[in-house]
Amino acid sequence: MSSRKREEAEEATAARPLLVKTLQEVADEALEIGSKRQPFSAESRYKAPRIRDARVVHSVCPYCAVGCGLNVYVKDGQVIDIEGNPDSPINHGTLCPKGAATFQYTVNPSRLTRVLYRAPYSDHWEEKSLDWAMEQIALRVKETRDATFVERLADGREVNHTLAMASLGGATLDVEENYLMKKLFTGALGIVSIENQARI
C-alpha cells in the first residue's frame, strides 16, 4: 500500500465511530467470493468501483480496423471511463494502448468546441457561430458549383460534374456518414473527387 493510500484508509477508519463487534457482525462482514466466504474489512465493504451505477454504452474502438468492442461508462451525462467489452468475441475485453486511451481522445481539454474562421490573407482565427459557418459554406459550394459545372465535354459527351471541389474523409467516418457524403456531393452536386483514407 502506498503511503498516500494508507493515509486515506486511516482517515476513512478514523471517520467512523469505534464499535466493539460481535462475532455475528464479523461473520456478516464476510463476503462470498467464488465458492468461499472471505472476511472483508469494513473499509473494503464501503468501497465500490466508480463505474458502479454508471450507464454502460456499447461502442467500438475508433482506431485500427480490428473493431474491438468498448464499454463506455456514463454517469451524470459525462463519460467517466472506457474499457474493452469482455463480451466481444473480437477482443474479449482487452485493448491495445490506443484503444485504452479512447477516453482521453473524447474527454480532452484540447478539443475544439467552437467554429474557428480564418479570412483570406488574415493572420488570426475568429470565433464564429455554427449557423453562420454553415450558411457561408453552403454559399461557397453553390458559388463554386455554379461557376465551374460542366454539362458536356467538347466531344459532346454528357458529364454533369465539377472538378473544382473535392472532399477527403478519414476512415473513422461512419458507414452512414460516408453514404450521405457520396449521395450529396456526388449524387446531387456532381463533385467527383470524393475520396477517403482508404486510398492512402
Binding site: S59, V60, P62, C64, A65, V66, G67, G69, V72, G77, V79, I90, C96, P97, T102, Y105, R111, T113, L116, Y117, R118, A119, P120, D123, W125, S129, L130, A133, I137, T148, L153, A154, D155, N160, A164, M165, A166, G169, L173, D174, V175, E176, E177, Y179, L180, M181, K182, K183, L184, F185, T186, G187, A188, G190, V192, S193, I194, N196, Q197, A198
Partner: protein, 869 residues
C-alpha cells in the same frame, strides 16, 4: 482491393482474424501485426500455442518477428520475387493442391494466341503503349469458342493454358534470384516454402496476413495478387484456418470502400460512370505527366466504351454470367434510393444522367496535383490531415494554399487547419501570402454519435451514442445532412436542368422525436440512413409508392429488382437491417464458432468467403479436420458452420445448360460466384491496369537495377517526373544510397490527430526516431540518441537515432545495402511535435488504385549536431 477482387471476386479479407486460431501456419508479410493490430494478433499467438508455425517476413524486426517461429529479413520492395519464387517451386514440383486447383481456378483455361508475356517483351505484356504508358488488355483475354465460352485444357499440356504460361513467366524466379534481389539466403527461403507446403492441403491450412506494407508500393496490387494466387495454388481459400487476411488500418476503412467515398466507385463496388478522356493523337503526353483535367486548347480524345446511358453503362461494366449479372437490379435500386420518383422516368435513364461522369483519375493524390495547379477551388477535410498525413506532405501544404476555401472538420486543430500560419521547423509561413479561407468546425467523437463501422473482417458493428458532443461540435452526419438541406433550399427555385439532381435527391432523415436527454434537437436519424443502405420496398405490387420512412425493409439483396420497385443504398450491405427493430449491426450475441449473431458481415453475413471451396468438387469436406461447408444429400442443400457462399440448393454435380446466364451459368463446383467463370483467377484476363500476372519491378527508387528486365519499375505507374516538387532519386544515385521504409507504432495513429493530443500516449511515445543498424551508425559516425538528418530529393527532416539490431544490412550480389525505418506520426501541431516523415516520400501513383509508395524509397542519413540532448 483490386488485388483480392480481381483474383477472388470481392475486395475484402476472405476470412476473419478469430479464425486464425485454426491455421496450421500463418505467414505475415507487409505487416507488423503485433504492433499495428495487437488484439487481432492475439489469435496468432493462440494458434502458435496450438502448434501453428508463424512466419514473419519484413525489413524491420519487430514484436511480430519476436513472436514468430521464423523471421526472414528482406529488402523493402522485393516481395514479388520472394513470393513468385514460391509459385515457381509449386508449379515445377507439382507441389500445389492439384484437385483444388484444377477445379476451382483458371489454371487450365487457354489464353489468346496474341498474348505476350513480360518474358517475351523485356518487362512489358502485350498491349503496352509506350507513348501513353498504358495497356490495352485485349490480348490478355481467354481464348473463347463461338459462343464466347472460355476454352480449357484439363491436362494442362496446352502451351497457352494458364499453367504453362505461369511456368514460363516464373521460370527465372529462382532461389538464386531471391538471394540476389531480396537479400534472403536460399536456405531461409526454402524453410518458408517447406513450412507452407507442409501446412497446406486436405488436412492442413495456412493463412496469409498483410497490411499497408504491401499496399503502399508502386506495384502494391500485384503483390497482393501474388499472395492471393499462392493461396489458390495451396488450396487455402474458403477454408477454415486459410485465407488472405487483409489487415485494414482504420476503424471503417473497409466500410469507406464498401459504401464508398471514392471517386471511381458507387456503393457495393459498382464503378462510377465514366466518360474517359486521353490526350488526342496529335498531342499525346506520356501518362506520367497526365493531369487531372484537360489542358485548355489541347486536343483530347474519348476512350473506353460509351456509358452515356444506363443501358450502355450496364453493357460496359456488367457481366452476363456470375453474380454480377444482377448489376441492373443494384444500380436501379441505388438510383431509386437517391432520386425517388425521378428514378422511375424512362426506365431509370433520366436519373442515370444525374450521376456525374469521371473523365480521368480524380483520386486524392491526382487531385492534389490539380490543387497545386490552382484547378481546385474548394476542399472538404473530414477528419483527414494531408498537411502531415499524405505523401509528399510539403507539396500537400503548398496545394492547400492554392485553394479559395477549405472546410476542416476535426476534434483538434490539426496541421491541415493550421497550415496558413505554421509549418515544420525551418519552414517559414507568411499568412499574408495565403489566400485560403478556412472554416474549422469541431467534430463529434465516435462515442458522441450513433452509427456503424465496418471492420477488417467486413463486419458491421453499431455504436450507441454515449453523450452529446461538446459545444458546437457535431457529427459529420449532422454536418452533411444540414449542408444538404441548406443547398436544397438555395437551389429550390432554380430553373436549370443541371440543378435538378439537387432537387430530386431524397433527403429526409429527420428524427420522429428528439433524442431523449440530448440538447441537440436536429441530429439526423442514423438508423433511417442505415435503413436506406439496407434497402426498402419503394413500390408495392398494387403500384403504391412508399418513402423511406414508411416503406418495408427488404430482407436481403436477392429481392432487389431492376424495375424501380426497390431502393437500396448499398446492395452488399442489404440484410443488415432486415426489419424494424432488427439492426443486425447492433446484435451482440458472441456465441458460436463464427459468432454469426455478433454484428453483421457483408455479404449475407458470411464470415469466410468462397466457402464452397471448403468442400471437394463432390461437396464433401476435404477432411474431417477442415470441415466447414458441405452438401447435405438428405436435405439437398449446402450446410455447415457458416452461411454458404453459394446458391443454397445448387447441387455439386449441377452442369449449366448451354446459353445459361447469371449464376446459373456456373457449375455446382465453381466457388467464386462473383467471377464470370466461377473460378479463382491465377491469371487475370481483365480488371488490372498493370498486367495479368504479377511481375517484379523495382520500387520507383531502388538501390539496384532490376535484374530481370530493362524495365526498372512499374511501366504503368504515374511518375509525375516533370514536377519540381516530386523529384526522384535515380538508380545508384550515390547521394541517396539507403533504403527507407515507414511504419506505425502501437501508441500512435497516422499523422497523430487522434493520438498526439493525448498525454497517456505521448508519454509512451514522445518523439520521432529513425531506426538504424549498428553497422550503418558506425559508417556514418552516429551514436544512439543523436539527432540525425534524413534526406531525400523531396526534403530533409530531423529525428533521433535509434541504433538497433532490428534493422540489419542485407547482402545483395556481394554488395551491402543498408535499410532504415521510421514511424510517421508527428507534425507541427499537438502536444508532442516533430518532423513530418511524409515530407520525405514521393508522390508516384500505383496504376490501379493511385496509392503512393511510402514503404520503399531511397534516402541518406547524417548526423545533425554533436552530443546528446
Amino acid at each position: 482491393m483490386p488485388g483480392l477482387g480481381t483474383t477472388f471476386g470481392r475486395g475484402g479479407a476472405t476470412t476473419f482474424p478469430q479464425d486464425l486460431v485454426n491455421s496450421d501456419c500463418i505467414l505475415i508479410m507487409g505487416s507488423n501485426m503485433a504492433e499495428a493490430h495487437p488484439v487481432a494478433f492475439a489469435n496468432v499467438v493462440k494458434a502458435k500455442e496450438r502448434g501453428a508455425r508463424v512466419i514473419h517476413i519484413d525489413p524491420h524486426f519487430s514484436r511480430t518477428s519476436a513472436l514468430a517461429n521464423l523471421y526472414v529479413p528482406i529488402r523493402a520492395g522485393s516481395d514479388i520475387v520472394f513470393l513468385g519464387a514460391i509459385i515457381r517451386y509449386l508449379l515445377e514440383n507439382k507441389a500445389f493442391f492439384e484437385e483444388y486447383v484444377l477445379h476451382y481456378t483458371n489454371i487450365a483455361t487457354l489464353i489468346r494466341e496474341d498474348f505476350r508475356d513480360t518474358e517475351d517483351l523485356d518487362g512489358v505484356f502485350s498491349g503496352y503503349d509506350p507513348e501513353t504508358g498504358t495497356y490495352d488488355p485485349t490480348s490478355w483475354d481467354y481464348e473463347r469458342d463461338a459462343e464466347g465460352r472460355p476454352l480449357s485444357d484439363p491436362t494442362l499440356q496446352h502451351p497457352r493454358c494458364v499453367y504453362q504460361i505461369m511456368r514460363r513467366h516464373y521460370a527465372r524466379y529462382t532461389p538464386e534470384l531471391v538471394e540476389q534481389v531480396c537479400g534472403v539466403p536460399r536456405a531461409l527461403w526454402q524453410q518458408v516454402v517447406d513450412t507452407l507446403v507442409a501446412n497446406s492441403g486436405r488436412e492442413r491450412t495456412s493463412a496469409i496476413c498483410y497490411a499497408v506494407g504491401w499496399t503502399q508500393q508502386s506495384k502494391g496490387v500485384q503483390i497482393i495478387r501474388t499472395a492471393a494466387m499462392l493461396q489458390l495454388l495451396l488450396g487455402n481459400i474458403g477454408r477454415p484456418g486459410g485465407g488472405v487476411m487483409a489487415l485494414r488500418g482504420h476503424a471503417s476503412i473497409q466500410g469507406s470502400t464498401d459504401v464508398p467515398t471514392l471517386y471511381d466507385l458507387l456503393s457495393g463496388y459498382m464503378p462510377q460512370p465514366a466518360a474517359l478522356l486521353a490526350p488526342g493523337e496529335g498531342t499525346r503526353r506520356p501518362r506520367s505527366e497526365e493531369v487531372q483535367a484537360p489542358v485548355a486548347g489541347e486536343e483530347m480524345r474519348p476512350v473506353g466504351p460509351s456509358q452515356q446511358t444506363l443501358a450502355e453503362y450496364i453493357a460496359a461494366v456488367g457481366q452476363k454470367t456470375g453474380w454480377w449479372a444482377n448489376l441492373p437490379a443494384y444500380i436501379r435500386s441505388l438510383l431509386k434510393a437517391w432520386y425517388g420518383s425521378y428514378a422511375d422516368e424512362e426506365n431509370g435513364e433520366r436519373s442515370y444522367r444525374f450521376l456525374p461522369k469521371i473523365i480521368s483519375d480524380h483520386s486524392h493524390l491526382a487531385t492534389s496535383y490539380a490543387m497545386l495547379d490552382g484547378k481546385v477551388r474548394g476542399y472538404f477535410l473530414f477528419g483527414q490531415n494531408p498537411a502531415a498525413g499524405s505523401t509528399n506532405a510539403r507539396m500537400q501544404r503548398k496545394a492547400l494554399a492554392q485553394l479559395d476555401w477549405l472546410v476542416v472538420r476535426d476534434l483538434y486543430e490539426v496541421e491541415s487547419a493550421a497550415f496558413w500560419y505554421r509549418g515544420p521547423e525551418g519552414e517559414t509561413v507568411d499568412p499574408r501570402q495565403i489566400k485560403t479561407e478556412v472554416f474549422l468546425l469541431p467534430a463529434a467523437a465516435s462515442t458522441e454519435k450513433e452509427g456503424s463501422f465496418t471492420n477488417t473482417q467486413r463486419l458491421l458493428q453499431w455504436r450507441d451514442k454515449a453523450v452529446d458532443p461538446p459545444g458546437d461540435a457535431r457529427s459529420d452526419l449532422w454536418f452533411v445532412y444540414h449542408l444538404g438541406k441548406r443547398l436544397k433550399a438555395l437551389y429550390a427555385d432554380s430553373p436549370h436542368e443541371r440543378d435538378l439532381p439537387i432537387k430530386a435527391l431524397t433527403w429526409d432523415y429527420e428524427r420522429e422525436t428528439p433524442e431523449p436527454g440530448s440538447r441537440i434537437l436536429d441530429e439526423p436519424d442514423a438508423l433511417l440512413v442505415l435503413k436506406e443502405i439496407n434497402g426498402y420496398y419503394a413500390r408495392s405490387a398494387d403500384g403504391k409508392e412508399y418513402c423511406l420512412r414508411e416503406a418495408s425493409h427488404v430482407p436481403d439483396f436477392t429481392v432487389l429488382k431492376a424495375d424501380g420497385s426497390t431502393a437500396c443504398g448499398s446492395w452488399i450491405y442489404s440484410g443488415v437491417y432486415p426489419a424494424p427493430e432488427r439492426n443486425r449491426a447492433a446484435s451482440r450475441d458472441p456465441s458460436g464458432y463464427t459468432f454469426p449473431n455478433w454484428g453483421f458481415a457483408w455479404p449475407a453475413n458470411r464470415r469466410i468467403l468462397y466457402n464452397r471451396a471448403s468442400a471437394d468438387p463432390q461437396g464433401r469436406p476435404w477432411s474431417e479436420r477442415k470441415k466447414y461447408i458441405w452438401w447435405d444429400e438428405e436435405r439437398q442443400q449446402w450446410t455447415g458452420y457458416d452461411v454458404p457462399d453459394f446458391p443454397l440448393r445448387k447441387p455439386p454435380d449441377y452442369t449449366p445448360s448451354p446459353g445459361a446466364t447469371g449464376i446459373d451459368a456456373h457449375s455446382g463446383s465453381d466457388p467464386f460466384i462473383m467471377k464470370p467463370d466461377g473460378k479463382g483467377w491465377l491469371f487475370a484476363p481483365s480488371g488490372l491496369k498493370d498486367g495479368p500476372l504479377p511481375t517484379h519491378y523495382e520500387a520507383v527508387e531502388a538501390p539496384i537495377a532490376n535484374p530481370l528486365y530493362h524495365r526498372q519499375s512499374n511501366p504503368v505507374a504515374r511518375y509525375f517526373r516533370d514536377r519540381p516538387d516530386n523529384r526522384l532519386a535515380a538508380v545508384g544515385d550515390e547521394r541517396y544510397p539507403i533504403v527507407a521504409t515507414t511504419y506505425r507504432l502501437t501508441e500512435h495513429h497516422l499523422s497523430g490527430p487522434m493520438t498526439r493530443w493525448l498525454p497517456w500516449l505521448n508519454a509512451l511515445q514522445p518523439a520521432l526516431f529513425v531506426e538504424i543498424s549498428p553497422e550503418l551508425a558506425a559508417e556514418r559516425q552516429i551514436r544512439h540518441g543523436d539527432e540525425v538528418i534524413i534526406s531525400t530529393p523531396r526534403g530533409e527532416i530531423e529525428a533521433r537515432a535509434m541504433v538497433t539490431r532490428r534493422l540489419r544490412p542485407l547482402r545483395l550480389n556481394g554488395r551491402i545495402v543498408h535499410q532504415v525505418g521510421l514511424p510517421f506520426h508527428w507534425g507541427f501541431q499537438g502536444k508532442t511535435r516533430g518532423s513530418i516523415t511524409n515530407d520525405l516520400t514521393h508522390m508516384v501513383l500505383e496504376p490501379n488504385v493511385s496509392i503512393e509508395e511510402a514503404k520503399a524509397f531511397l534516402c541518406d542519413v547524417r548526423p545533425a549536431r554533436r552530443g546528446r540532448r
